[in-house]
């Protein structure tokens, strides 16, 4: 029983750490420069 509770707590801590990583990455990504607007006929850009 103790082992099971310990396991659940460990997974919970892992989830919290993953959540914190996500928050950090999201704040980094939101400050990244956005794509320039491309011409209407373009399929896309590789620049």
């Amino acid at each position: 029983m103790q082992g099971m509770i310990g396991g659940i707590a460990a997974v919970f801590v892992g989830l919290v750490l993953a959540g914190l990583t996500t928050v950090g990455v999201v704040s980094t990504v939101s400050s990244a420069p956005s794509q320039p607007d491309q011409a209407v006929v373009d399929y896309g850009t590789n620049q």
Partner: protein, 593 residues
């Protein structure tokens, strides 16, 4: 009782976990409506037509995927079918990756499944709309598992053929899946030459429709060498092309790359994945045979080489696509990155299991394992909610249905021919699609064969299409008007002309008012069938020439028919054998009760 519930949950996890990831990634794309993004165009009812069999004048890029959709949406509405394909593809991919990991570790399965569903390849191909290639990708783990079984267990044959058919809805998909299958069988050594030969036959049969249609188009299957550089693997942010490809990214189109891939986060993700994969090498050698390892490593190496060829030796690849019919398939080389993913997923799964085992404190190991399992998601969080809103479901304007109805009535009255879709450009950014770029959906929405431009523009550089008929029509649009234009169009087998006024106005506003786009065609004697706010449909006067120049003759049609027959025989044979076996098994179980 509690133990039984726990066991059921663990058994369902390989499906439930990728399902959760898929729902998280697709987000708004699963709401009512159609997802139109770049090359992914689904309509309410895709009418079966000759071009879907490879009979048209353009290269058979959507053979046989269009035919399969046109048949299936007679039973399931197009909107539901699209959701099922997108969701089912990701679930199958994740479940297959889980099953490939030897050793039975739940954490290992979770890690492999997460990476296989949540990586740049899936996200970028989803946004650019390459759903048949994603179906191939989803089938790869299953093809690998079947291919490794057929040498020793003949019962795996029907499964292998069915997965190959599932994976071969597009030309590149067929090559990727076929390559993995053949190498997977041949990896068993000399004794496997007979099963390997049969696998090649199965690959040839399920790919025959597009391959034969492509060959019958002759010189049209040669491509512009200048396009190789434009479609080659690209770096992402600080990652050079080779590193982006190792991280399962590197697509040519920077527009579809998630923002997180353009920051230092992509470097962290790459280092983390490769390091964990390196840790997984030891268990992989211990738990698998040499043949199993060859079956994954050789295709991964081939995938890497093909993905980087356009960037490393553009001159050589350019010469190939210009001289060798069909070599243009290697133009967008990063599609072959799909072959790298199964190996990475297996190694990552084994690596995570090993890391958890190595940590002396169990709780700490589990914490680390959880972080590693979720790392593909946490390091690319902008793939959530329809890739941060890049995928969304929309409804078609009512005028689409009105134009379709008017054209159908004209068709019932005996008018024939193809419909010419104007403006004569390939891509649109309709306001009703929230400004998202999409291949023009109008031609697919209408119920007859259509002629649309196959010219592509990438970063302002024009890449001419291969369809000679389209080139002649563009020339006529640029130089003729009135009765002369109508005569020229009728001579090309055009029976109707439809103009998307919204797209036309957008081009004029952007200064892209090339006369060859047919932005405001002058048709003197054509009858207006529909004239609405955003669309005009004309019926051209009958000129007696309904068969488009360049369409296939009778002998070519017979050969193409045989190719379809080969695919149908292979597929139905596999279904029959599989069905018979399932029937026998259920009867035996019934008797034993």
């Amino acid at each position: 009782m509690r133990r039984r519930i726990g066991a059921t949950a663990v058994r369902a996890l390989p499906v439930l976990w990728p399902l959760a990831l898929a729902v998280l990634m697709l987000g708004g794309a699963l709401l009512p409506g159609y997802v139109l993004t770049y090359d992914m165009v689904w309509v309410p009812d895709l009418t079966l037509r000759g071009d879907f069999l490879g009979l048209g004048s353009s290269l058979p890029r959507a053979v046989p995927s269009d035919l399969v959709v046109a048949v299936l949406d007679e039973v399931v509405p197009g909107m539901v079918l699209q959701k099922a394909v997108l969701l089912g593809t990701l679930v199958l991919a994740g479940a297959g990756a889980w099953r490939m990991v030897p050793g039975g570790s739940v954490l290992g399965g979770l890690a492999a499944s997460t990476l296989y569903v949540w990586n740049p390849f899936v996200v970028e191909r989803l946004v650019i709309g390459h759903w048949p290639l994603l179906m191939t990708y989803a089938a790869l783990p299953w093809i690998h598992l079947c291919a490794r079984r057929v040498v020793s267990d003949g019962r795996a044959w029907p499964g292998l053929v069915l997965w190959l058919a599932f994976a071969s809805l597009s030309p590149v998909g067929g090559l990727v899946a076929g390559g993995l299958a053949v190498v997977g069988v041949a990896a068993s050594g000399r004794g496997a030459w007979r099963p390997a030969a049969w696998t090649m036959c199965a690959v040839a049969a399920v790919n025959a429709p597009w391959a034969v249609a492509g060959v019958l188009h002759g010189s049209g299957s040669l491509s512009d060498p200048a396009a190789v550089r434009l479609f080659s693997a690209q770096g992402e942010g600080v990652l050079p092309a080779w590193a982006a490809v190792l991280g399962l990214g590197g697509i040519w189109n920077a527009e579809v790359v998630p923002g997180s891939r353009t920051t230092w986060v992509a470097v962290v993700a790459l280092v983390l994945v490769l390091t964990t994969c390196a840790v997984g090498l030891g268990p992989w050698r211990r738990l698998t045979s040499r043949a199993d390892r060859r079956a994954l490593a050789i295709p991964a190496l081939i995938g890497l080489v093909l993905a980087l060829a356009g960037a490393a030796v553009p001159g050589t690849v350019g010469w190939l696509v210009e001289q060798v019919p069909g070599a243009g398939l290697a133009r967008d080389g990063t599609r072959f990155v799909a072959l790298v993913a199964p190996l990475q997923a297996v190694l990552l799964g084994l690596g995570v299991s090993r890391v958890v085992d190595l940590v002396p404190v169990r709780a700490l190991g589990l914490t680390l394992g959880t972080v590693l399992v979720l790392s593909p998601v946490t390091l690319m969080p902008d793939a959530v909610a329809g890739v941060s809103g890049r995928l969304g479901a929309v409804g078609f304007p009512m005028e689409y249905a009105d134009a379709r109805g008017a054209l159908s009535a004209s068709q019932r009255a005996g008018h024939t021919g193809d419909v010419l879709v104007l403006p004569f450009t390939s891509y649109r950014r309709p306001e009703w699609n929230d400004g998202r770029r999409t291949l023009d959906p109008l031609g697919r929405y209408l119920p007859v064969d259509y002629l649309a431009s196959d010219t592509l523009v990438v970063s302002g550089v024009t890449i001419p299409g291969e369809d000679l008929r389209a080139q002649r029509v563009a020339s006529a649009l640029g130089s003729l008007e009135g009765v002369e234009l109508e005569h020229a169009l009728s001579g090309e087998g055009i029976g109707w002309v439809v103009l998307d006024s919204e797209a036309s106005q957008a081009l004029v506003a952007a200064g892209a008012d090339d006369t060859r786009y047919g932005l405001d065609p002058v048709l003197a004697q054509a009858r207006v069938l529909h004239d609405g706010k955003t669309m005009t449909l004309w019926e051209l006067p009958r000129q007696g020439a309904a068969s488009p120049r360049g369409s296939l003759g009778i002998p070519a049609r017979v050969v193409l028919g045989l190719a379809w027959l080969a695919a149908a025989v292979a597929l139905s044979g596999a279904v029959l054998v599989r069905g018979r076996r399932a029937w026998d098994t259920s009867r035996q179980m019934h008797r034993s009760r």
